[in-house]
């Protein structure tokens, strides 16, 4: 019986992984067994299947159902040569050049096998944490330099300490899995490919701050992640990894996965808490901080999926092992997600400090369309549009902020030379208008006025006057919005206007200029 690994990651399924798995079974039962894994994150090679051979796993991809006959003819079950043969997956340069800490197991293990998880180092972090006081765990996370991966980059250990010191009968850990930023998919990959790591991270967080209940708020656009996460919670509960006494340590931690309902704003932590409480996802004013008055008014640590998923590594290997990676105040690894018009899109986990150019050229290999790159947007729909002249900026929170950009959740979307930055600026306003929670005026009204004014600019009506108006509007939104939604929408708009002014002149003049 030969084992074949076929990803069940949503992106692999989107490329036909389920059809490939069915075709393999139809042709090869009873000689093979299929294990569904997460994705290694080399999405241009999906569906990428791996065959277990005596020399290790051998990968083939991208495999279509129609390739199975020729693969069989090439004796792929013994690692035979074929046009689609990629060799050992860990030796594919795209993977070999990465530093996979958080994504070490993703694409390797069966996401719903707790035995597999343990065999690959899982639960070593929690076992260490069980022997420690909450304060010691918090100090360790602080010393690792781990910062919130959701975008804000706030030190995780400091946030935890606030929750730990708060006095309350009930505290909560809330995982923000409302990964709504365009160009990001790392949270999804973790939930679909290595869910026990997130469960372990949340359990450690619970022990650290004294919380006994956790919620994972998952966006409804991720039905597969929700399903896998819910199953993993059931399994972990059955195995005693969650429950009234975690692994018999006498301390309780239980978890529940909750499904969002299609609102981008619920990725904002206070809006997420409102939604978890069953209300409209309207942003709360801060203070009070959620760390002190969060879910149901009680102390709550709200952390991103990747932040929590990285905690087991820190506990298992020590704070210094993690802090040794990175640059400046950005310690550890950054999980870059490369998407859009790119030849080799995927997940790239590397130490902080790699330049944008290395990501999009060395890893990405240029555009998928073969045309020149004109712009990239880093950090989701609220991130800046940058031209080629800024590509040598290192991927680091401070370096990006210094150039009026943001690393955010690490998503990079690449555009070729057909992109119209005036249209993208208009879209930034349109998106904000569609997704604003409506609580504060600059965001609710400003976004609508932004779309109207951009329409005038695109139509060539009083361009100079309207450009001034948009700049002024952006300033108001930046200064006066309640949360990052309205406050950061000006970033894509202003960056497009600053770096691509030629796209904002009336169309007839644009033609004349060329």
């Amino acid at each position: 019986m030969i084992t074949i690994y076929v990803p069940c990651d949503a992106a692999a399924i989107a490329c036909g992984a389920n059809k490939v798995a069915a075709a393999l079974l139809a042709k090869l039962v009873p000689d093979i067994s299929i294990v569904r894994t997460g994705s290694r994150g080399l999405f241009w090679l999906e569906p990428m299947i791996e065959v277990a051979t005596p020399e290790g796993r051998i990968a083939y991809g991208p495999v279509k159902p129609g390739d199975i006959d020729s693969l069989i003819a090439a004796d792929f079950l013994n690692g035979g040569d074929h046009l689609l043969r990629l060799g050992k997956p860990e030796e594919i340069p795209y993977l070999a050049r990465q530093t996979r800490l958080t994504f070490e197991r993703c694409g390797v293990v069966d996401p719903l096998s707790i035995t597999d998880y343990r065999a690959h180092g899982g639960y070593a972090g929690l076992e260490a944490a069980i022997a420690m006081e909450g304060e010691a765990i918090t100090e360790m996370v602080k010393a690792s330099g781990l910062r919130g991966r959701g975008g804000a980059g706030f030190p995780t250990g400091i946030k935890w300490n606030t929750v730990r010191l708060a006095q309350a009968d009930q505290k909560y850990i809330v995982c923000n899995a409302d990964e709504g930023d365009s160009g990001t998919f790392a949270d999804r990959m973790v939930m679909e490919g290595d869910p026990f790591m997130l469960i372990e991270g949340m359990t450690i967080a619970g022990l650290a701050v004294g919380a006994t209940k956790g919620y994972i708020y998952i966006r409804s656009e991720y039905p597969h992640a929700f399903k896998t996460m819910s199953r993993a919670i059931e399994i972990a509960t059955r195995e005693g990894a969650l429950g009234p006494s975690v692994f018999g340590c006498g301390r309780a931690f239980t978890l529940e996965a909750r499904l969002g309902a299609g609102a981008y704003i619920c990725g904002e932590e206070t809006s997420l808490l409102e939604s978890l409480e069953g209300r409209r996802g309207v942003v709360r004013a801060k203070p009070p901080l959620p760390a002190l008055e969060g879910l149901f008014g009680l102390p709550t640590a709200v952390n991103n999926v990747l932040s929590l998923a990285t905690v087991p590594y820190v506990l298992a290997h020590g704070a210094q092992a993690y802090a040794d990676y990175g640059m400046g105040r950005s310690r550890g690894t950054l999980c870059i997600q490369l998407g859009g018009n790119i030849k080799h899109g995927g997940l790239i986990e590397v130490a902080f400090g790699m330049t944008l150019r290395e990501a999009i050229e060395d890893f990405g290999g240029g555009t998928a369309s073969g045309r020149p790159i004109r712009a990239v947007q880093v950090g989701g729909p609220l991130g800046a549009y940058w031209p080629e002249s800024l590509f040598d900026t290192p991927l680091d929170y401070e370096a990006f902020a210094a150039k009026a950009g943001l690393v955010g959740h690490g998503g990079i979307v690449v555009f070729d030379d057909t992109v119209d930055l005036a249209a993208q600026a208009r879209f930034a306003f349109e998106f904000c208008a569609a997704e604003s929670c409506g609580k504060c005026t600059p965001c609710r009204i400003g976004a609508v006025r932004g779309v109207e004014t951009m329409d005038k600019i695109i139509a060539g009506t009083d361009v100079d006057k309207n450009m001034t108006l948009v700049s002024d509007l952006c300033q108001t939104m930046t200064d006066a919005s309640l949360c990052a939604m309205g406050g950061l929408t000006p970033i894509p708009v202003v960056s497009a206007m600053t770096h691509f002014p030629g796209d904002f002149v009336p169309a007839p003049l644009r033609i004349a200029a060329e």
Binding site: E46, T184, F185, G260, G262, A263
Partner: protein, 157 residues
């Protein structure tokens, strides 16, 4: 293809009751209702208000805030097309226009034959395989004209 029961306020009330005792139960309730009946009938508003000890206005506010919750049945298949930036960079805007012309519907519209409801969505996390869509929760990537045609044909079959 998802199949739904005809709306029945009695059954819906039982679904609401099954969530009693869960903290912040409104969203799980609404998801369960929509999964069973395909939409949320406004008859459930006073029932939920009673069960959750909230005002009817608050329940109405919650239901109407979220893009997911519908007050009418969708078509036999729901196609969610991603409109976000990564998909735009691969020609999604033109592709969506093409599909809407072929189907004769706008966003949120259902085709005359009741086969397809078209929903906009902002990011499916399939950004390295753009343009992307969810067809009844089944992800589809690298969409082009012919993939769209195949999708429509399959939905109408």
């Amino acid at each position: 293809m998802p199949s739904y029961d005809a709306w029945n306020t009695g059954e819906a009330t039982q679904i609401v009751a099954s969530f009693a005792g869960r903290d912040g139960a409104a969203l799980p309730m609404l998801h369960a209702l929509q999964e069973r009946f395909g939409f949320i009938d406004k008859a459930i508003v006073p029932v939920m208000a009673e069960a959750l000890n909230l005002s009817r206005a608050e329940i109405h506010g919650t239901i109407t805030f979220y893009h997911d919750f519908r007050d009418h049945l969708p078509g036999r298949h729901t196609v969610k097309l991603c409109r976000a930036e990564a998909c735009q960079s691969r020609g999604a805007v033109a592709l969506h226009r093409q599909m809407m012309e072929k189907l004769g519907v706008d966003w949120h519209g259902t085709t005359v034959d009741g086969a397809i409801t078209l929903q906009p969505v902002f990011c499916l996390g399939l950004c390295a395989n753009a343009p992307a869509a969810l067809v009844d929760d089944e992800p589809v990537g690298n969409l082009d004209s012919s993939a769209i045609d195949a999708m429509i044909a399959e939905a109408r079959a």
